[in-house]
């Protein structure tokens, strides 16, 4: 019988960090997350959280905020315990604790766009109403947190090792491709300048003998 344990090495989710030039990626712990569905306005009013619901690549600030998943569904981050008692609420919403179901990955640095453009098709030029997207082949919620150089990602716990492995594999490619791209562009430019100088006097005659 096959043993596939060596094929898929384990990935510890206990505070791993991934660093590369212009990029730092870490797993955040102890973030309270609750899935709320139904009358979201009622929930916001009762929870005292009237701020904007952040969509894909929108900007969230502070430690308490709301991530919008769908028109009637959202993820409440670090909301007060009273507001997120699990189950049905007569005010028209349902709540489920997802704090352990979703891992939160935070990515920071100037090379962040290189990761985003490899992991997901979302358009970085504009915010989307929903934070849901496909990131590295899995469903995720994605938004900026604190500033535009920081992104937070919420992914299913069981798939977090896959996403982490994906990040490990792609961080070096993304960063080196960016570096290599700049290098090639420089070389190309230099070569073109050199060629132009050599060919400029009489290009059409260059092949005549």
């Amino acid at each position: 019988m096959l043993d596939l344990s060596p094929r898929w090495p384990s990935v510890s989710l206990a505070q791993p960090v991934l660093a590369a030039p212009g990029l730092e990626i870490k797993m955040l712990a102890d973030i309270s997350q609750h899935l709320v569905s139904g009358d979201l306005s009622n929930w916001s009013r009762l929870a005292g959280m009237s701020g904007d619901r952040v969509g894909a690549l929108g900007l969230a600030t502070g430690s308490i905020y709301i991530v919008r998943i769908a028109s009637d569904r959202m993820l409440a981050i670090n909301a007060s315990a009273d507001a997120v008692a699990a189950g049905w609420h007569p005010d028209g919403f349902a709540v489920t604790d997802m704090s352990a179901a979703l891992c939160v990955i935070e990515m920071q640095g100037e090379n962040l766009p290189q990761i985003i453009r490899r992991a997901t098709p979302i358009d970085p030029r504009e915010n989307s109403p929903s934070a849901s997207c496909q990131f590295a082949q899995v469903t995720a919620a994605i938004y900026h947190h604190g500033d535009r150089d920081t992104v937070r990602l919420h992914i299913d716990r069981s798939l977090a090792p896959h996403v982490w492995k994906w990040l490990e594999l792609n961080v070096s490619t993304a960063v080196s491709a960016e570096h290599k791209g700049r290098q090639v562009e420089r070389q190309l430019k230099q070569a073109q300048e050199k060629r132009y100088m050599a060919e400029a006097p009489g290009r059409n005659d260059s092949t005549q003998k």
């Binding site: 049905w88 489920t96 604790d97 997802m98 082949q137 290009r203 003998k209």
Partner: protein, 961 residues
């Protein structure tokens, strides 16, 4: 005399020499050479063999239009089979081999096939290899067919990068029109991505004469590119846009020399297609001989690689654009004769001065030569000794991408070609791709495209040099020629094949394509399409527009599979789910396997799998087993309509269940087939947990959400998939309760307060837990659910406490034995796509349930109530016999033939019972218990006795033992 290289000029770097082998022969070249240019400069004329007739073939084109020169390349950082020699850089030390030739292109042992060409017309295979049957011929034909050989030892050193890119405007093609359009939209403040398949930007300006705004074309290109860079444009040379898909998604493949190519998914707001045009061949006898090439390609080899293709050159043309290559070659020292099909061409005096002979009103009847062109015969019978023939049959706009985007074409009598007929929303064609062949027109067209994208009208750069016109005259392939004239070089389609298709009434262009393979495969009709259409028009008495074109489909050029795969290879091919206890399982010596998308322990221990699994199963019955059931679905259904909703979803009635209780049930498909089974837990009046099969969570979740949105009040019921919020640690066996009591979970585990099929809340070290009494082993069992991120602590505590009770860790394989002993089903293993609940012996809900449910109507069909349905039963074998093979069929002999009456779905050796056990779906099985039937497997037959599914503790006493 063949092609030769000048000692000066071109783009090559003569300070960097390189050499490679082609079919074992050493070929020298320079940095900047393509494989094709190095072969040409080395005088190698035969570079491959044709697909069907194994005719010798030489280089025809300069870029992606090349139909002949395909090679296998190894011993390079990025080896590749079947690559175009014209688009692949030459690499020092490369081992290059021609395709479709054994042992070499020069001496191909299958060359004799051409002598039997008259017996190999179009559709030869369909008509010939019918009797006795295709399989007799298949191995030999497959061996001969196809181009290129895959390197079985090839191992990718990395995966292809895939990049998503968004911009205002994507400009495909960096010729005069594309560069103009890109610069203008960039200057209008738009973000631009400009890509070109060549490694240098400039398109036709890199080898055609041109002067723009008073400067040489080369200088204009440099300045334009510099201005684009200054505006922040993304510029991708060596990048081919190969497909346009829905919502303006354009796929680009960026060639890389030393690592896998990069696939770009570009989603622009607007697209400019400045994809240029491809020069058409002209049809004459033996027009496929090596040494016959596109006149435009010859000019590109001359100007960019300093290669003169021959010393005595004939140029056959029907338009003015051939005169530039003719004149350039004459200046480069070749003796050039232009065979102009037009009776009275307006020939520039300069061309005559440059020593170009012109034979007006003539055309080439045939080329003469065995392995390469040696002479031509004109239509008036004259013979002309030449070593190279250049052909300029006009220009076919590259409309592939435009048509992929559903653009419509119109026939242009000026160009004698199909051109785009208006713009597609968000997409505009420019330059030669839009029929603007001359430089002035191309520049203006580029500026117009930019205006269309930016909404700002901008002046076009001016062509200030001398320009040739086109003045093309129709010169289409003629039927009934004495010799074979090739229309499609790559697929070996001649005028005679098209004539045969017409005779056999394959006159639709789509039928012609399938019947003759014209324009198929990697070529996609780049050089052949229009000549084929024109000939069919002539043969069928229609005009060319009436015949029309075939559909254009991506990819425009072949794209490596590595590009499409990207990082989704090896262990990353499909996201694999991991248990929160995975690290513990590894530390306990688990062998892990993939079960329904999850990596789970198959068994623990270093012994043989059979022994370890048997040990686990035996010990589980004797003491207590610990099992990781975290993967089981935990989908919450919440809301005032949750109970009614679940009544509709489940086959069983669920709304009557009280809070704190559980109920087992089936979920059916609309066809009434059992889709999933599991336990439903009711936590309170409005909150349930659907505990579905591990591998079915995504499917069940989607199904629940679909029914919620389609049939119920969406404000009254909600579905939350919280499967990974909690880990489920299962404790099962006679000592299960004692073990849990020793751990302490903060609630009573007595049967009175927590009976079988009930749930209770508890606490473990300050963390809430839920204890549910359900059993998949038949023994007393408790499922303890705890937050996933706290599960390891509880698991460790259970293992520690378990030592006093001889607890055993069991993997999925032992669990499969335990549940099979009890006759518990696994959906998809013990059921198939036809199994309905009645087949599993659960018929009462259909008879008694009042509420409607998914699949009900299908259970009332005639098929569902047939009395010969396959029913779920057990099978027993005689003492001492081995287990039955899973998948073995129960059979009966009827009218001298063996007929299947069902099959074995699960089969194990039960260490507890000391004998084999098996489960099966057998025709009328439940009414035949006690009957002995034949079981057939791989031709051998044995006997088994039909029994009840449950082979162990049929009274269920162990549930509360």
């Amino acid at each position: 005399m063949t092609a030769r290289r000048h000692s000066e000029g071109g783009e090559i770097d003569r300070t960097k020499r390189l050499s490679f082998t082609f079919d074992g022969r050493t070929v020298d070249g320079y940095a900047g050479d393509t494989i094709a240019s190095a072969l040409l400069a080395s005088g190698i004329r035969i570079v491959g063999r044709s697909f069907k007739y194994h005719r010798p073939r030489g280089i025809w084109g300069f870029g992606i239009e090349e139909p002949n020169a395909f090679v296998d390349v190894t011993n390079v950082p990025k080896p590749g089979p079947n690559v175009r020699a014209t688009t692949e850089a030459a690499w020092d030390g490369a081992l290059i081999k021609s395709v479709n030739a054994k042992p070499t292109a020069e001496n191909d042992r299958h060359a004799f096939i051409d002598r039997f060409a008259r017996f190999l017309p179009a559709a030869f295979y369909y008509k010939t290899f019918m009797l006795p049957n295709w399989r007799v011929f298949e191995p030999h034909i497959r061996d001969m067919a196809g181009l290129g050989i895959l390197d079985k030892d090839w191992d990718s050193s990395g995966f292809a990068d895939q990049i998503h890119h968004h911009c205002d405007v994507l400009v495909v093609g960096a010729g005069p029109a594309g560069l103009t359009a890109a610069l203008k939209v960039a200057e209008a403040g738009k973000s631009v991505l400009l890509c070109d398949q060549g490694w240098r930007l400039g398109g036709s300006l890199l080898h055609r004469d041109g002067e723009i705004d008073g400067e040489p074309a080369a200088r204009w290109i440099e300045k334009t590119v510099a201005r684009l860079r200054a505006r922040g444009a993304t510029i991708l040379p060596s990048t081919t846009a190969f497909g346009i898909y829905d919502h303006h998604l354009v796929a680009l493949n960026q060639q890389q020399a030393e690592r896998p190519d990069v696939l770009w998914y570009v989603r622009p707001d607007r697209i400019v297609l400045a994809t240029g045009a491809i020069e058409r061949p002209l049809a004459f006898g033996n027009n496929d001989l090596p040494g016959i090439m596109s006149a435009d390609a010859a000019l590109a080899y001359l100007r960019r690689h300093a290669i003169v293709p021959g010393s005595r050159v004939a140029v056959m043309t029907n338009n003015d654009t051939a005169y530039e290559p003719a004149t350039a070659l004459a200046r480069a020292g070749a003796r050039v004769t232009v065979v102009d099909c037009r009776a009275e061409p307006r020939i520039d005096a300069q061309h005559r001065q440059d020593g170009v002979d012109v034979l007006a009103g003539r055309h080439i009847a045939s080329a003469i030569g065995r392995s390469a062109v040696e002479a031509i015969r004109l239509d008036d019978g004259r013979r002309l000794d030449v070593d190279s023939v250049l052909v300029a049959g006009g220009w076919t706009p590259t409309v592939h991408l435009y048509c992929q985007a559903k653009g419509r074409l119109t026939w242009s009598e000026v160009l004698l070609a199909f051109v785009p007929d208006g713009d597609v929303p968000g997409l505009v064609a420019a330059g030669a791709a839009n029929g603007s062949i001359g430089l002035s027109e191309a520049l203006a067209s580029g500026a117009d495209a930019a205006s269309a994208c930016s909404g700002i009208s901008m002046p076009a750069p001016k062509s200030t040099g001398h320009e040739l016109g086109l003045a093309i005259a129709a010169t289409w392939p003629r039927p009934r020629g004495k010799e074979r004239a090739w229309i499609d070089y790559q697929n070996d389609v001649t005028t005679k094949d098209v004539e045969l298709a017409a005779r056999e009434n394959y006159v639709s262009i789509e039928h012609l394509k399938r019947y003759t393979t014209l324009g198929m495969a990697t070529d996609q009709g780049k050089t052949s399409n229009l000549n084929g259409i024109a000939l069919m028009a002539e043969l069928s008495g229609r005009t060319i527009p009436e015949v029309g074109t075939t559909s254009y489909r991506p990819p425009f050029t072949p794209v490596p599979f590595t590009s499409f795969a990207g990082g989704s290879v090896g262990v990353m091919m499909n996201p694999l789910r991991r248990s929160p206890l995975e690290i513990c399982h590894r530390a306990d010596g688990a062998s892990l396997l993939e079960y329904g998308g999850w990596l789970r322990p198959a068994y623990y221990g270093a012994g043989s799998p059979e022994e370890e699994i048997a040990r686990e199963a035996r010990q589980a019955r004797q003491s207590v087993a610990l099992f990781d059931g975290s993967t089981l679905g935990k989908i919450e259904v919440i809301g005032p309509q949750a109970a009614a909703f679940l009544d509709f979803i489940y086959y069983n009635t669920m709304s009557t269940m009280k809070p704190g209780r559980c109920r087992y049930g089936f979920i059916l498909t609309e066809a009434g087939v059992v889709y999933d089974d599991g336990v439903l837990v009711r936590l309170d009046e409005n909150r349930f947990i659907v505990s579905c099969s591990s591998s079915h969570v995504a499917g069940v979740h989607a199904m629940l959400e679909e029914w919620r949105q389609d049939r119920f009040d969406r404000s009254q019921v909600f579905i939350h998939n919280a499967t990974t919020q909690t880990a489920t640690l299962t404790v099962s066996g006679p000592n299960a309760r004692m073990l849990l009591q020793s751990v302490g979970l903060g609630c009573s585990l007595e049967d009175a307060s927590l009976p079988h099929m009930a749930t209770a809340d508890g606490m473990f070290e300050g963390v809430p837990v839920r204890i549910t009494r359900v059993s998949f082993t038949g023994d007393r069992s408790y499922e303890v659910s705890i937050r996933s991120d706290r599960a390891e602590i509880l698991w460790d505590r259970l293992k520690q406490a378990g030592k006093s009770f001889q607890a055993v860790l069991i993997g999925l394989e032992a669990l499969m034995i335990l549940r099979a002993e009890k006759g518990y089903i696994v959906i998809g293993k013990d059921t198939d796509g036809t199994t309905r609940p009645g087949d599993l012996g659960v018929g009462s809900p259909l008879a008694k349930k009042k509420a409607d449910f998914v699949g009900r109507r299908s259970l009332l069909t005639e098929d569902a109530s047939r009395d010969d349905r396959r029913e779920f039963v057990g099978l027993a074998v005689a003492p001492g016999e081995n287990p039955l093979p899973t998948g073995a069929h129960g059979v009966v002999r009827e009218n001298g033939r063996v007929r299947s009456i069902g099959y074995v779905t699960s089969s194990y050796f039960s260490p507890t019972l000391g004998k084999p056990i098996a489960l099966a779906l057998i025709e009328r099985g439940r009414r035949r218990i006690g009957e002995t039937i034949l079981i057939q497997h791989l031709g051998a037959q044995r006997r088994a006795t039909i029994a009840a599914p449950c082979a162990y503790d049929s009274e269920g006493l162990r549930l509360n033992a």
